[in-house]
């Protein structure tokens, strides 16, 4: 099933800079996909189109049957409730506890407190942080903080988990831990994972589908791939 589809997607900014040129890409449900490339290759922009942080200048992006590129601004929040996004800088609220951070999104949906409790603890268990529910982000290590972010991203059981350089601020060992968590989510929850990264080690180790972007276009798309570096620079 064509779960995520990019059709002839291009992105040019008003100052003339092209971020993406004619991207065509299909991702099936349940896949684990790496989007790799040098910095400023356009991989972040590609990812951002999935949760409408960016809009393509040409082409369409379809997620779960919904044309997200044509979505009205006022409706974008509904889309984001069905996705989970994890960032390089964690984006946790320092004044809230781990529990409150994860519950954050659900509170704004008007969910019942009892339902929120169940979901939050389920998510925390999935990432292995159940006993840190009352801690504050500043009391946690980098890896633990990222796990909290992941928990927040999966708390509402989204079909897609989007990761924008999630291991960027972490050391290699912690990065491995995080990848384990992501892999378990992919397997246990059947969540499609789309991850942008320039971490060679991880990509080479995990042998998942690797899509390489260079010079604003897709230059390779390989199942069980490895990190490619193009010499055209």
């Amino acid at each position: 099933m064509k779960f995520i589809e990019y059709k002839n997607v291009s992105k040019t900014y008003s100052n003339g800079i092209t971020a993406l040129a004619d991207i065509n890409l299909v991702i099936e449900k349940g896949e684990f996909v790496f989007i790799t490339g040098q910095t400023a290759s356009g991989k972040s922009t590609l990812i951002k189109m999935l949760y409408r942080e960016e809009k393509p200048t040409r082409g369409t992006v379809i997620v779960g049957g919904l044309n997200v590129s044509k979505l009205r601004n006022g409706r974008v929040y509904k889309l984001r409730r069905k996705l989970g996004v994890v960032f390089q800088d964690f984006k946790l609220l320092p004044r809230l506890t781990v529990y409150e951070n994860v519950a954050f999104a659900l509170e704004y949906m008007g969910m019942k407190s009892s339902d929120i409790r169940t979901k939050v603890y389920k998510a925390l268990e999935q990432v292995g942080l159940k006993d840190k529910a009352r801690s504050f982000p500043r009391e946690l290590s980098g890896g633990e903080q990222q796990r909290v972010s992941i928990a927040r991203a999966i708390v509402n059981e989204p079909k897609i988990l989007i990761c924008d350089e999630p291991t960027g601020d972490l050391d290699p060992d912690t990065s491995k831990e995080i990848m384990k968590v992501l892999e378990s989510i992919n397997k246990d929850m059947d969540t499609t994972i789309v991850m942008a990264t320039h971490d060679k080690e991880i990509v080479n180790r995990m042998k998942k589908r690797v899509i390489t972007i260079d010079n604003n276009t897709i230059v390779s798309d390989v199942e069980k791939g490895s990190y490619k570096v193009h010499e055209t620079r």
Binding site: Y51, Y77, L83, V85, L93, Y108
Partner: protein
């Protein structure tokens, strides 16, 4: 149930936010307090001035002196009383036609004679000497509905048959009325200006509190909070800040005005220049302060939030 839950959580969040950013919140509340206090003073001053000017204006009368009726000795068909009666009837019917007149009172020459006799012995002697003849004339005291029409009404009355003279303090009256008008406009202008200043100050302070929470707002957006649910806590926060800012002015106003009123015994200088009675007036002013504070607080929030919500 869902929207109710969101609203309750928003209110709870706004309390938390005010306490968490306490020094900024306090700044906003103090700004509102000071300005609303000034607004209160202006409103009370303006309302009292208004009442006083209205009272003074209502006391402005036109005094009309009728012409002296005389009959030639050899004219037997001429009767002074009858003539005077005719003139009075005609005059009163003309007055009745005029809508601008509130009321009029007649003081006959006999009444004048009695009053003047009582007032001064030498007048009494003079009247006794004159016997039947009464040299005085009838007069009317006329009250108009609108002090601005005094000049025109006086002119009209002057043209009526049988009127000798109209007096209404011309020159001075117009001066008083225009002075009062200026006072009214100026005090209203001050109130409006102060309300705008309060709005600006609260809006600015809330902009600062929102600015300090922009990372939080960004996360709310990314995590899928609707624009409405992001704005709501800030809306309540603005409402609360305005509300809290109006509490002290309200108490000071109620207590202060009652004390002032009873100290001055309800009047300044004389009975004529009376202060407005506290009860109900004071509560109306308090209600105004509350409404101004909370509405202005909310507008301040909304404006500030709109700047930081993209999409």
């Amino acid at each position: 149930m869902k929207p109710v839950r969101i609203i309750i959580r928003s209110i709870r969040d706004s309390f938390k936010n005010i306490i968490r950013n306490f020094s900024l919140s306090l700044a906003a509340i103090l700004c509102a307090t000071i300005t609303l206090m000034l607004v209160s003073v202006s409103m009370i001053f303006g309302a009292n001035v208004n009442q006083i000017t209205e009272k003074v204006e209502s006391e402005l009368n036109i005094v009309v002196y009728m012409t002296k009726v005389t009959c030639k000795k050899d004219n037997s068909s001429c009767n002074v009383e009858e003539e005077e009666e005719k003139i009075r009837t005609n005059f009163e019917s003309e007055l009745e036609k005029l809508d601008l007149i509130d009321s009029y009172t007649l003081k006959t020459k006999e009444e004048w004679k009695e009053e003047m006799s009582k007032y001064n012995n030498s007048y009494k002697e003079m009247f006794e000497y004159l016997g039947e003849d009464n040299p005085l004339v009838d007069s009317y005291t006329i009250k108009v509905k609108d002090a601005k029409s005094l000049t025109d009404v006086a002119k009209f009355i002057n043209s009526i048959n049988g009127v000798h003279q109209t007096k209404y303090g011309e020159g001075m009256v117009e001066g008083i009325i225009s002075a009062f008008d200026i006072i009214k406009i100026v005090s209203f202008g001050i109130v409006v200006a102060l309300v705008l200043v309060t709005a600006f100050l609260i809006s600015n302070t809330i902009k600062l509190t929102i600015f300090s929470r922009r990372s939080e707002i960004e996360i709310m957006r990314l995590v899928g909070a609707s624009n409405a649910s992001i704005k709501m806590p800030f809306l309540f926060e603005g409402f609360l800040l305005g509300f809290l800012g109006s509490i002290i002015p309200i108490f000071v106003t109620i207590y202060g005005y009652i004390v002032l009123y009873f100290k001055l015994d309800g009047k300044i200088v004389s009975e004529m220049v009376g202060l407005i009675n506290p009860f109900n007036f004071i509560f109306a002013v308090s209600a105004c302060l509350l409404i101004i504070g909370t509405v202005v607080g909310m507008f301040g929030s909304i404006r500030a939030v709109r700047k930081y919500l993209k999409i």
